[in-house]
């Protein structure tokens, strides 16, 4: 299981990545990340929502209320061009970090 501190750093990239394919509401964002990471990345409300609000304030995401898949009111988040622009440098940054870790700590599958 990945420790909370490590997971926090990954949350921004994970959120932007799952929103790349279309708008999702908070629960669905968390579920997709969990599913796509094979259960390794699970975010509590305290980790997910403050970050979503920050990303919304920075103009990376746009949130609006609408009807979810189950017909109930849900607040869904859509990736804005500014957020999409952040994805490429963020991915490159993480790739650099993994390469560096591989060299230093002999992490093989980072």
């Amino acid at each position: 299981m990945i420790r909370t501190e490590l997971k926090r750093g990954t949350a921004e990239l994970a959120i932007l990545s799952v929103l790349e394919n279309g708008p999702l509401h908070g629960y669905e964002i968390g579920r997709r990340i969990e599913y796509q990471s094979g259960g390794a990345l699970q975010y509590s409300l305290a980790a997910l929502y403050p970050l979503l609000y920050r990303m919304e304030n920075r103009g990376w995401l746009h949130a609006e209320w609408g009807k979810g898949e189950n017909g109930k009111r849900r607040r869904s988040y859509r990736l804005l061009p500014r957020g999409r622009k952040m994805l490429k440098p963020m991915r490159a940054e993480w790739a650099d970090l993994f390469r560096a870790l591989r060299r230093v700590a002999k992490v093989t599958h980072a």
Partner: protein
């Protein structure tokens, strides 16, 4: 089915926001817990276990509250800068440069006390331009999604700043003149 709204409201406490904003945050968090709980039940998890796992998913409520407050405050400060101070500063600077330009172009000012050392100088074309400057600041504020009093404040910032500058300079000049007069005596 538990009342997740009531549960979130009870545990989250005050976010120091308007009631409408607080209700929106409560509704969103409650919706998340409701979906999580429903998914557990659908996968065959017994009710009691589903409830306790959903409560655990919420995490630390104290931390959640303080982090939401910090995140929302960051947004408020950013909004204030974008919607009030930046439009105000941009238009204040533009008004100031227009005044310099008018002086360079040789616009003739009006004097309140012609021939006397102390008086007020009016550049009428520039004064007529100030309401337009205010409108421009209001427009910039609206473009940054400013609403209500923020737009009005942004449109007043250039004039208020110029008036403050004028009053400070006026006072400084007056005190300088009275000091030099005293020295002469």
């Amino acid at each position: 089915m538990p009342d997740w709204r009531a549960y979130v409201r009870e545990h989250l406490g005050s976010l120091r926001r308007s009631p409408a904003e607080e209700e929106e945050a409560v509704a969103e968090l409650a919706a998340h817990l409701e979906d999580f709980h429903a998914a557990l039940l659908a996968s065959g998890t017994p009710e009691a276990e589903a409830f306790s796992r959903t409560c655990a998913r919420a995490g630390n409520w104290k931390q959640l509250r303080s982090e939401i407050i910090a995140a929302k405050q960051e947004g408020t400060m950013r909004d204030r800068i974008r919607q009030i101070w930046l439009p105000g500063l941009v238009t204040f600077m533009s008004a100031y440069f227009v005044l310099i330009l008018l002086q360079r172009l040789g616009a003739r000012p009006l004097y309140s006390h012609p021939g006397e050392p102390v008086g007020v100088i009016f550049y009428l074309p520039w004064l007529f331009l100030l309401p337009l400057v205010g409108v421009m600041a209001g427009y910039l504020s609206r473009r940054a999604q400013g609403e209500g009093w923020r737009v009005y404040l942004a449109s007043c910032v250039p004039v208020l700043a110029l008036a403050a500058l004028f009053l400070v300079l006026f006072r400084l000049v007056l005190s300088w003149i009275s000091r030099s007069r005293r020295r002469r005596k």
